[in-house]
């Protein structure tokens, strides 16, 4: 079986506190994994480790078969939304995404605009981001994660700040991406409904220990 993500015995200790405790996780291509747990349980830390932003004390992480983290490499073909994306408040939504897209230079204007439309925003909206509502910023954050058509999508609390309609829209978008594009999805959410609607497998995270959830 081909895996999009493979985490083996991942441990992270910071100042004698065990943040991640021998975490093992294998996410097959096309699967959808949900991680639930209270604030401070280590969910975000796990995502940061997968993204190569923090280095493991021990263990290894492979994304698309390539090691990340200790070799200084970040995962490829991966879209992320962890907390808030660092948008420039003085630029418009399109301006921000365009600047992010220029880093890899894989997509052009039509793809950027399509991603903005996909999350229910207007690509011609000239307002600077600082005038956006919380929900609009969150939608744009999801658009930046989607726009380069990654094969793996890592979303930390993607429904935060969205109104009821926004949550339903976002579920539909993610569902569509899974069905049509075969995207692999890993997400956390405080809402059980999101997890139930979008995920095949659910894990519990508690004190840095990851265990399969018992329904």
């Amino acid at each position: 079986m081909e895996y999009a993500l493979k985490v083996t015995e991942l441990t992270k200790i910071i100042q004698k506190h065990t943040i991640l405790d021998k975490v093992n996780l294998a996410v097959p291509v096309g699967a959808s994994i949900g991680i639930v747990g209270r604030n401070g349980s280590g969910k975000s830390m796990l995502f940061k480790a997968v993204c190569g932003l923090i280095l493991p004390t021990s263990g290894s992480i492979e994304v698309w078969g390539k090691k990340v983290g200790t070799n200084g490499k970040f995962p490829q073909d991966t879209g992320i939304l962890i907390e808030s994306p660092g948008f420039l408040p003085q630029y418009s939504g399109y301006g921000n995404l365009s600047m992010l897209a220029s880093i890899q230079n894989k997509i052009k204007r039509p793809e950027i605009e399509a991603a903005i439309v996909q999350v229910g925003l207007d690509p011609t909206d000239k307002r600077p981001i600082r005038k956006y509502s919380m929900g609009m910023k969150q939608r744009l954050g999801i658009a930046q994660a989607l726009m380069e058509k990654p094969r793996l999508l890592i979303l930390d609390e993607p429904m935060n700040g969205l109104d009821a309609k926004g949550v339903i829209d976002m579920r539909n978008i993610l569902q569509h991406l899974r069905e049509q594009n075969g995207i692999t999805l890993i997400l956390t959410s405080h809402h059980k409904d999101d997890i139930d609607a979008l995920c095949d497998t659910v894990y519990d995270m508690d004190n840095g220990v990851l265990t399969p959830s018992i329904a």
Binding site: I14, L53, I54, S84
Partner: protein, 270 residues
């Protein structure tokens, strides 16, 4: 490729708030009002003689502008992942630091020049004046050779430009060093440490340290360099700065390889 890199550098620039730039540019202005009391001569020679090109205020202001370079927040993750590897971040920040330092030094001099011209009514004549030559001789305790070398080989403007080049090198080295420390500490400790070192140097013995040929001050002052009585000695500080800047870049690379990019305390999540 160039365009891509340009955007990454531009992005780093845009994250420095305007008020930090303004505050940092006021520091050299404070320095000039304190230090620049010579009412005669022209701006260029006064800048060289008074050495406000590379003493305290310009590097201090630069450390304020770059105080957050090297400190990553979880917000930065969306950009970092698109850069594919940590060494690209180092390249982007190294180039960004250079352009920010260059801009800051140029703007500092522009602000000082405007102040000198409009408020102090100093001329911009590109000619050595007798009073400057005499005061330099006094500074050199009667040794006329360094002054002769300076006056024979440089006009006030070229001496000013040469001094400015060394100032940029000095500031760039400090910027890279503080960025490497910031990366390791995930807080602006690098800027604080370098700032305290500059202040201590200025307050407790900068003059004495400045006469040692391996000190930062010595190698950033054209007048001190010429004190070795050989115009070819200008090559020595160039090599000196290349070595130091290379060492700082290597340190930053090593810091980036070993450090977590995100501070746990900052994010709230365990």
């Amino acid at each position: 490729m160039f365009k891509r890199f340009f955007y990454m550098v531009y992005n780093t620039w845009l994250r420095i708030p305007m008020w930090i730039w303004i505050f940092a540019l006021l520091l050299p202005l404070y320095g000039i009002t304190n230090n620049f009391i010579c009412p005669t001569g022209n701006f260029w020679e006064a800048a060289v003689v008074r050495q406000f090109t590379a003493t305290l205020w310009i590097p201090m202001g630069m450390l304020i502008v770059l105080s957050k370079l090297g400190i990553s927040r979880v917000d930065d993750a969306t950009r970092y992942l698109r850069m594919n590897k940590r060494s690209t971040i180092v390249s982007v920040k190294t180039v960004s630091a250079f352009f920010i330092v260059l801009t800051y030094v140029l703007l500092s001099f522009l602000v000082m020049l405007l102040y000198a011209k409009l408020r102090m009514k100093l001329s911009l004549t590109n000619q050595w004046t007798e009073i400057t030559v005499l005061s330099l001789q006094n500074l050199d305790r009667g040794n006329t050779l360094p002054v002769k070398l300076l006056v024979d080989n440089f006009t006030p403007l070229t001496a000013f430009l040469a001094s400015m080049t060394f100032t940029v090198a000095y500031c760039y080295f400090l910027a890279l060093l503080s960025t490497a420390i910031n990366t390791l500490c995930k807080a602006p400790f690098g800027s604080a440490i370098c700032g305290i070192a500059l202040l201590s140097n200025f307050l407790f013995g900068g003059y004495e340290i400045g006469t040692y040929s391996f000190s930062l001050d010595f190698n950033s002052s054209l007048h001190e360099i010429l004190y070795s009585n050989d115009p070819r000695s200008v090559i020595a500080p160039i090599i000196y700065w290349v070595i130091l800047i290379t060492a700082a870049i290597v340190s930053y690379h090593l810091a980036m390889r070993k450090a977590d990019l995100i501070s746990m305390a900052r994010d709230g999540d365990k």
